[in-house]
Amino acid sequence: MRSRLIWLAVILCLCCIGYMTIGARGPLSFVIPFRGTKLAALILVGFAISTSTVLFQTVSQNRILTPSIMGFDALYVMILTGAVFFLGGMAFVGLSDQIIFAVTASAMTLAALALFSTLLRSAHSNLMRMILTGIVLGALFRSLTDFMQRMIDPNEFSVIQGASYARFAQIETDLLMIATVVCCVGVGLAWRMRFALDVMTLGREAAVSLGVDLRRTQMKALVLTAVLVAVSTALVGPVAFLGLLVVSLARLVTPIEKHGVLFVSAGLISAITLIGGQTILERLFKLSTPLSVVIDLLGGALFLILLLKGHRR
Protein backbone atom coordinates (compact mmCIF):
# COMPACT_ATOMS: atom_id res chain seq x y z
CA MET A 1 0.00 0.00 0.00
CA ARG A 2 2.77 2.38 0.93
CA SER A 3 4.55 1.96 -2.40
CA ARG A 4 1.33 2.76 -4.26
CA LEU A 5 0.92 5.95 -2.26
CA ILE A 6 4.51 6.89 -3.05
CA TRP A 7 3.87 6.27 -6.74
CA LEU A 8 0.82 8.50 -6.60
CA ALA A 9 2.89 11.21 -4.91
CA VAL A 10 5.54 10.91 -7.63
CA ILE A 11 2.91 11.22 -10.36
CA LEU A 12 1.47 14.26 -8.61
CA CYS A 13 4.95 15.86 -8.50
CA LEU A 14 5.40 15.22 -12.22
CA CYS A 15 2.00 16.76 -12.93
CA CYS A 16 2.93 19.80 -10.86
CA ILE A 17 6.22 20.22 -12.70
CA GLY A 18 4.41 19.86 -16.01
CA TYR A 19 1.80 22.40 -14.96
CA MET A 20 4.45 24.90 -13.90
CA THR A 21 6.80 24.57 -16.86
CA ILE A 22 5.02 23.51 -20.05
CA GLY A 23 4.46 26.43 -22.35
CA ALA A 24 5.86 28.92 -19.89
CA ARG A 25 6.85 32.14 -21.61
CA GLY A 26 8.08 35.25 -19.96
CA PRO A 27 10.24 35.83 -16.91
CA LEU A 28 10.23 33.21 -14.18
CA SER A 29 9.57 35.90 -11.60
CA PHE A 30 6.16 36.29 -13.19
CA VAL A 31 5.42 32.71 -14.13
CA ILE A 32 6.20 31.12 -10.78
CA PRO A 33 3.89 33.21 -8.57
CA PHE A 34 1.20 33.35 -11.28
CA ARG A 35 1.02 29.64 -11.87
CA GLY A 36 2.07 28.74 -8.35
CA THR A 37 -1.03 30.26 -6.77
CA LYS A 38 -3.25 28.40 -9.23
CA LEU A 39 -1.37 25.19 -8.57
CA ALA A 40 -1.80 25.62 -4.83
CA ALA A 41 -5.49 26.30 -5.32
CA LEU A 42 -5.92 23.16 -7.45
CA ILE A 43 -4.19 21.04 -4.83
CA LEU A 44 -6.40 22.52 -2.12
CA VAL A 45 -9.52 21.90 -4.16
CA GLY A 46 -8.42 18.36 -4.91
CA PHE A 47 -7.96 17.48 -1.26
CA ALA A 48 -11.08 19.35 -0.15
CA ILE A 49 -13.25 17.50 -2.67
CA SER A 50 -11.83 14.05 -2.07
CA THR A 51 -11.92 14.40 1.71
CA SER A 52 -15.48 15.69 1.76
CA THR A 53 -16.57 12.86 -0.51
CA VAL A 54 -14.92 10.19 1.62
CA LEU A 55 -16.51 11.65 4.75
CA PHE A 56 -19.92 11.82 3.17
CA GLN A 57 -19.73 8.30 1.77
CA THR A 58 -18.76 6.87 5.13
CA VAL A 59 -21.46 8.75 7.01
CA SER A 60 -24.15 7.80 4.52
CA GLN A 61 -22.72 4.26 4.34
CA ASN A 62 -22.75 3.95 0.61
CA ARG A 63 -20.34 4.55 -2.15
CA ILE A 64 -22.22 6.25 -4.91
CA LEU A 65 -23.17 9.39 -3.07
CA THR A 66 -21.11 12.54 -3.14
CA PRO A 67 -21.84 15.86 -1.50
CA SER A 68 -22.46 17.32 -4.98
CA ILE A 69 -25.01 14.71 -5.99
CA MET A 70 -26.78 15.53 -2.76
CA GLY A 71 -26.80 19.22 -3.69
CA PHE A 72 -24.16 20.52 -1.27
CA ASP A 73 -22.43 22.82 -3.74
CA ALA A 74 -25.73 23.89 -5.30
CA LEU A 75 -26.60 25.05 -1.80
CA TYR A 76 -23.45 27.14 -1.69
CA VAL A 77 -24.21 28.84 -4.99
CA MET A 78 -27.78 29.43 -3.85
CA ILE A 79 -26.66 31.13 -0.66
CA LEU A 80 -24.29 33.33 -2.65
CA THR A 81 -26.97 34.23 -5.19
CA GLY A 82 -29.44 34.86 -2.40
CA ALA A 83 -26.98 37.31 -0.87
CA VAL A 84 -26.73 39.28 -4.12
CA PHE A 85 -30.47 39.06 -4.61
CA PHE A 86 -31.37 40.42 -1.20
CA LEU A 87 -28.42 42.73 -0.53
CA GLY A 88 -27.93 44.02 -4.07
CA GLY A 89 -24.82 43.71 -6.18
CA MET A 90 -23.15 46.91 -5.00
CA ALA A 91 -23.44 46.03 -1.34
CA PHE A 92 -22.22 42.53 -2.17
CA VAL A 93 -19.16 43.77 -4.02
CA GLY A 94 -18.47 46.12 -1.14
CA LEU A 95 -18.10 43.22 1.24
CA SER A 96 -14.67 41.67 1.54
CA ASP A 97 -14.22 38.23 0.01
CA GLN A 98 -13.18 36.81 3.33
CA ILE A 99 -16.35 37.96 5.04
CA ILE A 100 -18.52 36.61 2.24
CA PHE A 101 -16.71 33.31 2.46
CA ALA A 102 -17.03 33.11 6.22
CA VAL A 103 -20.73 33.92 6.15
CA THR A 104 -21.60 31.58 3.28
CA ALA A 105 -19.54 28.75 4.72
CA SER A 106 -21.22 29.00 8.11
CA ALA A 107 -24.69 29.44 6.62
CA MET A 108 -24.05 26.40 4.51
CA THR A 109 -22.81 24.38 7.45
CA LEU A 110 -26.01 25.14 9.36
CA ALA A 111 -28.24 24.44 6.38
CA ALA A 112 -26.41 21.23 5.52
CA LEU A 113 -26.66 20.05 9.11
CA ALA A 114 -30.37 20.78 9.31
CA LEU A 115 -31.14 19.16 5.97
CA PHE A 116 -28.82 16.25 5.71
CA SER A 117 -28.70 15.12 9.30
CA THR A 118 -32.46 14.56 9.32
CA LEU A 119 -32.16 12.89 5.95
CA LEU A 120 -29.41 10.59 7.16
CA ARG A 121 -31.31 9.69 10.30
CA SER A 122 -34.64 8.94 8.68
CA ALA A 123 -33.39 7.23 5.58
CA HIS A 124 -30.33 5.26 6.57
CA SER A 125 -32.22 2.12 5.71
CA ASN A 126 -33.59 3.39 2.45
CA LEU A 127 -30.80 4.22 0.06
CA MET A 128 -32.87 4.92 -3.02
CA ARG A 129 -35.11 7.36 -1.21
CA MET A 130 -32.10 9.16 0.10
CA ILE A 131 -30.46 9.48 -3.32
CA LEU A 132 -33.69 10.69 -4.85
CA THR A 133 -34.24 13.21 -2.07
CA GLY A 134 -30.71 14.47 -2.56
CA ILE A 135 -31.10 14.83 -6.30
CA VAL A 136 -34.43 16.58 -5.87
CA LEU A 137 -32.91 18.92 -3.30
CA GLY A 138 -30.01 19.65 -5.63
CA ALA A 139 -32.44 20.41 -8.46
CA LEU A 140 -34.46 22.63 -6.13
CA PHE A 141 -31.39 24.62 -5.09
CA ARG A 142 -30.29 25.01 -8.70
CA SER A 143 -33.72 26.15 -9.87
CA LEU A 144 -34.05 28.65 -7.05
CA THR A 145 -30.60 29.93 -7.94
CA ASP A 146 -31.58 30.20 -11.60
CA PHE A 147 -34.77 31.98 -10.63
CA MET A 148 -32.97 34.56 -8.52
CA GLN A 149 -30.31 35.05 -11.18
CA ARG A 150 -33.01 35.81 -13.73
CA MET A 151 -34.69 38.29 -11.44
CA ILE A 152 -31.62 40.37 -10.66
CA ASP A 153 -30.06 43.09 -12.71
CA PRO A 154 -27.72 41.78 -15.43
CA ASN A 155 -24.90 43.83 -13.96
CA GLU A 156 -25.43 42.21 -10.61
CA PHE A 157 -25.63 38.84 -12.30
CA SER A 158 -22.07 39.25 -13.50
CA VAL A 159 -20.98 39.48 -9.86
CA ILE A 160 -21.99 35.92 -9.17
CA GLN A 161 -21.71 34.49 -12.64
CA GLY A 162 -18.34 33.01 -11.84
CA ALA A 163 -19.72 31.07 -8.92
CA SER A 164 -22.28 29.20 -10.95
CA TYR A 165 -20.13 26.85 -12.95
CA ALA A 166 -16.88 25.00 -12.47
CA ARG A 167 -13.80 26.74 -13.75
CA PHE A 168 -10.36 25.35 -13.24
CA ALA A 169 -8.53 27.84 -15.44
CA GLN A 170 -9.65 31.01 -13.66
CA ILE A 171 -9.46 30.50 -9.95
CA GLU A 172 -10.51 32.96 -7.26
CA THR A 173 -7.03 33.29 -5.83
CA ASP A 174 -8.07 36.19 -3.57
CA LEU A 175 -9.50 33.65 -1.19
CA LEU A 176 -6.43 31.46 -1.27
CA MET A 177 -5.15 32.40 2.18
CA ILE A 178 -8.35 31.78 4.09
CA ALA A 179 -9.16 28.75 1.95
CA THR A 180 -5.77 27.23 2.73
CA VAL A 181 -6.29 27.67 6.45
CA VAL A 182 -9.85 26.32 6.42
CA CYS A 183 -8.95 23.43 4.15
CA CYS A 184 -5.93 22.40 6.22
CA VAL A 185 -7.94 22.54 9.45
CA GLY A 186 -10.80 20.60 7.84
CA VAL A 187 -8.61 17.92 6.33
CA GLY A 188 -6.65 17.72 9.58
CA LEU A 189 -9.78 17.16 11.63
CA ALA A 190 -11.00 14.56 9.15
CA TRP A 191 -7.63 12.84 9.43
CA ARG A 192 -7.97 12.73 13.21
CA MET A 193 -11.35 11.03 12.83
CA ARG A 194 -9.96 8.30 10.59
CA PHE A 195 -10.10 5.48 13.13
CA ALA A 196 -13.65 6.27 14.20
CA LEU A 197 -14.60 6.38 10.52
CA ASP A 198 -13.00 2.95 10.03
CA VAL A 199 -15.22 1.61 12.79
CA MET A 200 -18.27 3.20 11.19
CA THR A 201 -17.78 1.16 8.02
CA LEU A 202 -18.67 -1.92 10.10
CA GLY A 203 -22.21 -0.62 10.41
CA ARG A 204 -24.24 1.24 12.98
CA GLU A 205 -24.53 -1.53 15.55
CA ALA A 206 -20.86 -2.43 15.55
CA ALA A 207 -19.91 1.23 15.86
CA VAL A 208 -22.17 1.71 18.88
CA SER A 209 -20.93 -1.52 20.42
CA LEU A 210 -17.34 -0.38 20.04
CA GLY A 211 -18.10 2.87 21.81
CA VAL A 212 -18.09 5.30 18.90
CA ASP A 213 -20.42 8.21 19.59
CA LEU A 214 -22.36 7.78 16.36
CA ARG A 215 -24.38 10.96 16.43
CA ARG A 216 -21.42 13.17 17.25
CA THR A 217 -19.19 11.53 14.66
CA GLN A 218 -21.85 11.91 11.98
CA MET A 219 -22.42 15.55 12.87
CA LYS A 220 -18.70 16.28 12.86
CA ALA A 221 -18.30 14.58 9.50
CA LEU A 222 -21.24 16.51 8.04
CA VAL A 223 -19.91 19.85 9.29
CA LEU A 224 -16.48 19.08 7.84
CA THR A 225 -18.08 18.03 4.55
CA ALA A 226 -20.03 21.28 4.36
CA VAL A 227 -16.98 23.40 5.14
CA LEU A 228 -14.75 21.59 2.66
CA VAL A 229 -17.37 21.82 -0.08
CA ALA A 230 -17.64 25.53 0.69
CA VAL A 231 -13.87 25.88 0.22
CA SER A 232 -13.78 24.09 -3.09
CA THR A 233 -16.89 25.79 -4.41
CA ALA A 234 -15.57 29.19 -3.41
CA LEU A 235 -12.35 28.53 -5.29
CA VAL A 236 -13.51 26.81 -8.48
CA GLY A 237 -17.30 26.59 -8.41
CA PRO A 238 -19.47 23.49 -8.26
CA VAL A 239 -17.86 20.24 -9.42
CA ALA A 240 -20.49 17.60 -9.90
CA PHE A 241 -18.82 14.25 -10.28
CA LEU A 242 -15.16 14.82 -9.47
CA GLY A 243 -15.50 13.51 -5.92
CA LEU A 244 -17.23 10.32 -6.99
CA LEU A 245 -14.69 9.74 -9.74
CA VAL A 246 -11.58 10.17 -7.62
CA VAL A 247 -12.82 8.29 -4.55
CA SER A 248 -13.92 5.33 -6.68
CA LEU A 249 -10.52 5.36 -8.36
CA ALA A 250 -8.84 5.52 -4.98
CA ARG A 251 -10.79 2.48 -3.80
CA LEU A 252 -9.47 0.63 -6.87
CA VAL A 253 -5.86 1.77 -6.51
CA THR A 254 -5.65 1.19 -2.77
CA PRO A 255 -8.22 -1.51 -2.03
CA ILE A 256 -8.05 -1.37 1.76
CA GLU A 257 -10.70 -0.28 4.21
CA LYS A 258 -8.61 2.20 6.12
CA HIS A 259 -9.47 5.85 6.06
CA GLY A 260 -5.88 6.71 6.83
CA VAL A 261 -4.93 5.28 3.42
CA LEU A 262 -8.10 6.30 1.62
CA PHE A 263 -7.84 9.98 2.55
CA VAL A 264 -4.29 10.14 1.21
CA SER A 265 -4.81 8.17 -1.98
CA ALA A 266 -8.09 9.92 -2.83
CA GLY A 267 -6.51 13.31 -2.19
CA LEU A 268 -3.49 12.51 -4.36
CA ILE A 269 -5.62 11.11 -7.18
CA SER A 270 -7.90 14.10 -6.98
CA ALA A 271 -5.00 16.53 -7.25
CA ILE A 272 -3.48 14.48 -10.09
CA THR A 273 -6.79 14.54 -11.97
CA LEU A 274 -7.13 18.30 -11.63
CA ILE A 275 -3.53 19.31 -12.28
CA GLY A 276 -2.73 16.61 -14.82
CA GLY A 277 -6.04 17.12 -16.60
CA GLN A 278 -5.62 20.86 -16.67
CA THR A 279 -2.05 20.56 -17.98
CA ILE A 280 -3.00 18.14 -20.72
CA LEU A 281 -6.15 19.90 -21.85
CA GLU A 282 -4.95 23.45 -21.61
CA ARG A 283 -1.26 23.26 -22.40
CA LEU A 284 -0.63 20.18 -24.51
CA PHE A 285 -3.76 19.92 -26.62
CA LYS A 286 -4.71 23.59 -26.44
CA LEU A 287 -8.28 22.39 -26.16
CA SER A 288 -11.00 24.79 -25.31
CA THR A 289 -13.05 22.06 -23.65
CA PRO A 290 -13.10 22.85 -19.97
CA LEU A 291 -11.74 20.12 -17.71
CA SER A 292 -15.02 20.13 -15.78
CA VAL A 293 -16.85 18.84 -18.85
CA VAL A 294 -14.46 15.91 -19.22
CA ILE A 295 -14.64 15.10 -15.52
CA ASP A 296 -18.42 15.30 -15.47
CA LEU A 297 -18.63 13.07 -18.52
CA LEU A 298 -16.40 10.40 -16.97
CA GLY A 299 -17.86 10.83 -13.51
CA GLY A 300 -21.42 10.73 -14.77
CA ALA A 301 -20.71 7.54 -16.70
CA LEU A 302 -19.16 6.03 -13.57
CA PHE A 303 -22.20 7.05 -11.50
CA LEU A 304 -24.47 5.27 -13.95
CA ILE A 305 -22.29 2.16 -13.95
CA LEU A 306 -22.22 2.04 -10.14
CA LEU A 307 -25.97 2.56 -9.99
CA LEU A 308 -26.61 -0.17 -12.57
CA LYS A 309 -24.22 -2.55 -10.88
CA GLY A 310 -26.49 -2.34 -7.86
CA HIS A 311 -24.13 -0.29 -5.67
CA ARG A 312 -22.56 -3.43 -4.28
CA ARG A 313 -19.31 -1.66 -3.74
Binding site: N62, R194, L202, G203, V208, L210, V212, E257
Partner: protein
Amino acid sequence: MISIRNLSHQIGGAPILTDISLDLPRGKISALIGPNGAGKSTLLSLIARLEKLQGGSVIVGNLTVGSCSNRELAKHLSILPQMPDQVPRLCVRDLVSFGRYPYHQGRPTADDEAAVEHALAVFGLTGLAKRSVDELSGGQRQRAQIAMTFAQDTEYMLLDEPLNNLDIAGARSLMALLRDLADNHGKTIVIVLHDINYASRYADWLVAMHDGQIAVEGAPAQTVTSDLLRDVFQTDADIQHIDGLPIVMV
Protein backbone atom coordinates in the same frame (compact mmCIF):
# COMPACT_ATOMS: atom_id res chain seq x y z
CA MET B 1 -25.93 -7.96 36.92
CA ILE B 2 -28.07 -6.05 34.48
CA SER B 3 -30.86 -4.22 36.30
CA ILE B 4 -33.74 -2.85 34.30
CA ARG B 5 -36.23 -0.62 36.10
CA ASN B 6 -39.59 0.66 34.87
CA LEU B 7 -38.53 0.54 31.25
CA SER B 8 -41.12 1.73 28.75
CA HIS B 9 -40.66 2.34 25.06
CA GLN B 10 -42.86 3.57 22.25
CA ILE B 11 -42.30 3.67 18.52
CA GLY B 12 -44.52 6.10 16.64
CA GLY B 13 -46.98 6.25 19.53
CA ALA B 14 -47.42 2.48 19.69
CA PRO B 15 -46.24 0.97 22.98
CA ILE B 16 -43.53 -1.65 22.44
CA LEU B 17 -42.46 -2.16 26.04
CA THR B 18 -44.55 -1.33 29.10
CA ASP B 19 -43.04 -0.85 32.52
CA ILE B 20 -40.45 -3.62 32.48
CA SER B 21 -38.41 -4.32 35.59
CA LEU B 22 -35.97 -7.17 35.35
CA ASP B 23 -32.71 -8.42 36.80
CA LEU B 24 -30.49 -10.55 34.60
CA PRO B 25 -28.08 -12.72 36.60
CA ARG B 26 -24.34 -12.26 36.40
CA GLY B 27 -22.10 -14.92 34.87
CA LYS B 28 -25.03 -16.75 33.29
CA ILE B 29 -26.70 -17.05 29.92
CA SER B 30 -30.11 -15.38 29.93
CA ALA B 31 -32.36 -15.98 26.96
CA LEU B 32 -35.17 -13.66 25.91
CA ILE B 33 -37.91 -15.66 24.26
CA GLY B 34 -41.39 -14.84 23.06
CA PRO B 35 -43.51 -14.61 19.94
CA ASN B 36 -42.72 -12.18 17.13
CA GLY B 37 -43.39 -8.59 18.12
CA ALA B 38 -43.16 -9.25 21.84
CA GLY B 39 -40.45 -6.60 22.21
CA LYS B 40 -37.44 -8.88 22.78
CA SER B 41 -35.18 -7.18 20.27
CA THR B 42 -36.27 -3.73 21.40
CA LEU B 43 -35.42 -4.62 24.98
CA LEU B 44 -32.01 -5.86 23.88
CA SER B 45 -31.28 -2.78 21.80
CA LEU B 46 -32.26 -0.53 24.71
CA ILE B 47 -29.81 -2.35 26.97
CA ALA B 48 -27.23 -2.04 24.21
CA ARG B 49 -27.94 1.71 23.78
CA LEU B 50 -28.73 1.13 20.10
CA GLU B 51 -32.01 2.91 20.79
CA LYS B 52 -32.42 5.92 23.03
CA LEU B 53 -34.06 5.29 26.39
CA GLN B 54 -37.45 6.96 26.66
CA GLY B 55 -38.45 6.05 30.19
CA GLY B 56 -36.93 3.93 32.92
CA SER B 57 -33.33 2.99 33.57
CA VAL B 58 -30.85 0.29 32.62
CA ILE B 59 -27.82 -0.35 34.82
CA VAL B 60 -25.12 -2.69 33.53
CA GLY B 61 -22.75 -3.67 36.34
CA ASN B 62 -22.23 -0.26 37.89
CA LEU B 63 -22.64 1.78 34.71
CA THR B 64 -25.89 3.53 33.91
CA VAL B 65 -26.76 3.26 30.23
CA GLY B 66 -27.36 6.69 28.74
CA SER B 67 -25.38 8.68 31.29
CA CYS B 68 -21.98 6.96 31.33
CA SER B 69 -19.54 7.54 28.48
CA ASN B 70 -19.89 5.41 25.38
CA ARG B 71 -16.25 4.50 25.44
CA GLU B 72 -16.38 3.35 29.07
CA LEU B 73 -19.49 1.29 28.44
CA ALA B 74 -17.82 -0.30 25.39
CA LYS B 75 -15.26 -1.85 27.74
CA HIS B 76 -18.00 -3.52 29.74
CA LEU B 77 -20.80 -4.26 27.32
CA SER B 78 -20.68 -5.49 23.74
CA ILE B 79 -23.31 -6.33 21.16
CA LEU B 80 -22.87 -8.90 18.46
CA PRO B 81 -23.51 -6.55 15.55
CA GLN B 82 -25.42 -7.26 12.41
CA MET B 83 -23.15 -6.84 9.41
CA PRO B 84 -24.26 -4.23 6.90
CA ASP B 85 -25.41 -5.62 3.54
CA GLN B 86 -22.19 -4.39 2.10
CA VAL B 87 -19.55 -6.36 3.95
CA PRO B 88 -16.39 -4.32 4.29
CA ARG B 89 -13.36 -5.68 2.48
CA LEU B 90 -11.42 -6.62 5.57
CA CYS B 91 -9.44 -9.68 6.42
CA VAL B 92 -10.57 -11.67 9.43
CA ARG B 93 -7.70 -10.44 11.59
CA ASP B 94 -8.53 -6.80 10.85
CA LEU B 95 -12.18 -7.40 11.68
CA VAL B 96 -11.32 -9.08 14.97
CA SER B 97 -8.85 -6.34 15.86
CA PHE B 98 -11.67 -3.79 15.72
CA GLY B 99 -12.80 -5.41 18.97
CA ARG B 100 -9.89 -3.68 20.70
CA TYR B 101 -10.90 -0.22 19.49
CA PRO B 102 -12.46 0.86 22.82
CA TYR B 103 -9.07 0.35 24.46
CA HIS B 104 -6.66 1.77 21.92
CA GLN B 105 -8.78 4.18 19.84
CA GLY B 106 -6.94 3.26 16.67
CA ARG B 107 -3.40 2.73 17.88
CA PRO B 108 -3.08 -0.91 18.97
CA THR B 109 -0.46 -1.86 21.54
CA ALA B 110 1.28 -5.22 21.86
CA ASP B 111 -1.36 -6.24 24.43
CA ASP B 112 -4.09 -5.54 21.93
CA GLU B 113 -2.34 -7.62 19.27
CA ALA B 114 -2.02 -10.47 21.75
CA ALA B 115 -5.71 -10.25 22.63
CA VAL B 116 -6.58 -10.43 18.92
CA GLU B 117 -4.38 -13.51 18.40
CA HIS B 118 -5.96 -15.09 21.45
CA ALA B 119 -9.47 -14.43 20.13
CA LEU B 120 -8.53 -15.89 16.73
CA ALA B 121 -7.16 -19.00 18.42
CA VAL B 122 -10.17 -19.46 20.75
CA PHE B 123 -12.57 -19.38 17.80
CA GLY B 124 -10.42 -21.53 15.52
CA LEU B 125 -9.89 -18.69 13.08
CA THR B 126 -6.09 -18.56 13.03
CA GLY B 127 -6.03 -20.42 9.71
CA LEU B 128 -8.54 -18.00 8.22
CA ALA B 129 -6.91 -14.86 9.62
CA LYS B 130 -5.76 -13.59 6.23
CA ARG B 131 -8.98 -14.42 4.37
CA SER B 132 -11.29 -11.62 3.39
CA VAL B 133 -14.52 -11.49 5.38
CA ASP B 134 -16.70 -11.37 2.29
CA GLU B 135 -15.32 -14.72 1.11
CA LEU B 136 -16.40 -16.53 4.27
CA SER B 137 -19.47 -18.70 4.69
CA GLY B 138 -22.30 -17.43 6.87
CA GLY B 139 -21.21 -19.54 9.82
CA GLN B 140 -17.56 -18.52 9.54
CA ARG B 141 -18.50 -14.87 9.29
CA GLN B 142 -20.64 -15.19 12.39
CA ARG B 143 -17.74 -16.79 14.18
CA ALA B 144 -15.42 -13.98 13.09
CA GLN B 145 -17.87 -11.43 14.43
CA ILE B 146 -18.18 -13.23 17.73
CA ALA B 147 -14.39 -13.39 17.88
CA MET B 148 -14.39 -9.60 17.47
CA THR B 149 -16.91 -9.27 20.29
CA PHE B 150 -14.78 -11.66 22.37
CA ALA B 151 -11.66 -9.58 21.69
CA GLN B 152 -13.57 -6.60 23.05
CA ASP B 153 -13.30 -8.50 26.33
CA THR B 154 -16.42 -7.16 27.97
CA GLU B 155 -18.08 -8.77 30.94
CA TYR B 156 -21.51 -8.41 29.33
CA MET B 157 -22.33 -9.68 25.84
CA LEU B 158 -25.62 -9.17 24.03
CA LEU B 159 -26.67 -11.24 21.01
CA ASP B 160 -29.79 -10.65 18.94
CA GLU B 161 -30.96 -13.86 17.25
CA PRO B 162 -27.47 -15.11 16.44
CA LEU B 163 -28.77 -18.47 15.24
CA ASN B 164 -30.47 -17.01 12.19
CA ASN B 165 -28.79 -18.25 9.02
CA LEU B 166 -26.89 -20.98 10.86
CA ASP B 167 -27.34 -24.68 10.21
CA ILE B 168 -27.65 -27.08 13.12
CA ALA B 169 -23.91 -27.65 13.38
CA GLY B 170 -23.20 -23.94 13.37
CA ALA B 171 -25.98 -23.20 15.83
CA ARG B 172 -24.89 -25.90 18.27
CA SER B 173 -21.23 -24.98 18.17
CA LEU B 174 -22.12 -21.32 18.67
CA MET B 175 -24.28 -22.11 21.69
CA ALA B 176 -21.57 -24.38 23.08
CA LEU B 177 -19.08 -21.52 22.66
CA LEU B 178 -21.37 -19.16 24.53
CA ARG B 179 -21.78 -21.78 27.27
CA ASP B 180 -18.01 -21.95 27.53
CA LEU B 181 -17.71 -18.17 27.68
CA ALA B 182 -20.20 -18.04 30.54
CA ASP B 183 -18.79 -21.01 32.46
CA ASN B 184 -15.07 -20.54 31.98
CA HIS B 185 -14.64 -16.86 31.20
CA GLY B 186 -17.28 -15.49 33.58
CA LYS B 187 -19.21 -13.65 30.86
CA THR B 188 -22.77 -12.53 31.37
CA ILE B 189 -24.61 -13.26 28.16
CA VAL B 190 -28.04 -12.05 27.11
CA ILE B 191 -29.37 -13.62 23.95
CA VAL B 192 -32.60 -13.29 21.96
CA LEU B 193 -33.66 -16.72 20.73
CA HIS B 194 -36.53 -17.92 18.62
CA ASP B 195 -36.16 -21.59 19.31
CA ILE B 196 -37.34 -22.50 22.81
CA ASN B 197 -35.46 -25.78 22.67
CA TYR B 198 -32.13 -24.07 22.16
CA ALA B 199 -33.02 -21.72 25.00
CA SER B 200 -33.95 -24.47 27.41
CA ARG B 201 -30.95 -26.59 26.45
CA TYR B 202 -28.26 -23.90 26.71
CA ALA B 203 -29.56 -20.99 28.83
CA ASP B 204 -29.54 -20.70 32.62
CA TRP B 205 -32.32 -18.19 32.83
CA LEU B 206 -35.30 -17.66 30.56
CA VAL B 207 -37.30 -14.47 30.21
CA ALA B 208 -40.50 -14.98 28.26
CA MET B 209 -42.00 -11.80 26.87
CA HIS B 210 -45.49 -11.15 25.63
CA ASP B 211 -46.97 -7.88 24.34
CA GLY B 212 -44.14 -5.76 25.69
CA GLN B 213 -44.28 -7.24 29.17
CA ILE B 214 -42.51 -10.01 31.02
CA ALA B 215 -44.75 -13.06 31.09
CA VAL B 216 -42.56 -15.48 33.03
CA GLU B 217 -38.95 -15.64 34.11
CA GLY B 218 -36.95 -18.38 35.74
CA ALA B 219 -34.82 -21.44 35.12
CA PRO B 220 -35.81 -23.41 31.98
CA ALA B 221 -37.15 -26.38 33.93
CA GLN B 222 -39.66 -24.17 35.69
CA THR B 223 -40.51 -21.78 32.85
CA VAL B 224 -41.05 -23.99 29.84
CA THR B 225 -44.48 -25.41 30.53
CA SER B 226 -47.56 -26.02 28.48
CA ASP B 227 -49.05 -22.94 30.16
CA LEU B 228 -46.22 -20.86 28.69
CA LEU B 229 -46.78 -22.26 25.22
CA ARG B 230 -50.51 -21.69 25.42
CA ASP B 231 -50.55 -18.24 27.04
CA VAL B 232 -47.46 -16.66 25.52
CA PHE B 233 -46.93 -18.44 22.23
CA GLN B 234 -50.59 -19.29 21.57
CA THR B 235 -49.91 -22.82 20.49
CA ASP B 236 -50.36 -26.13 22.23
CA ALA B 237 -47.44 -28.44 21.76
CA ASP B 238 -46.42 -31.33 23.97
CA ILE B 239 -43.53 -30.93 26.34
CA GLN B 240 -41.30 -33.90 27.13
CA HIS B 241 -38.63 -33.94 29.77
CA ILE B 242 -35.28 -35.35 28.78
CA ASP B 243 -32.49 -35.35 31.35
CA GLY B 244 -34.58 -32.96 33.41
CA LEU B 245 -34.77 -30.41 30.58
CA PRO B 246 -38.09 -29.55 29.02
CA ILE B 247 -38.16 -30.13 25.26
CA VAL B 248 -40.97 -28.82 23.11
CA MET B 249 -42.22 -31.43 20.65
CA VAL B 250 -42.44 -29.17 17.62
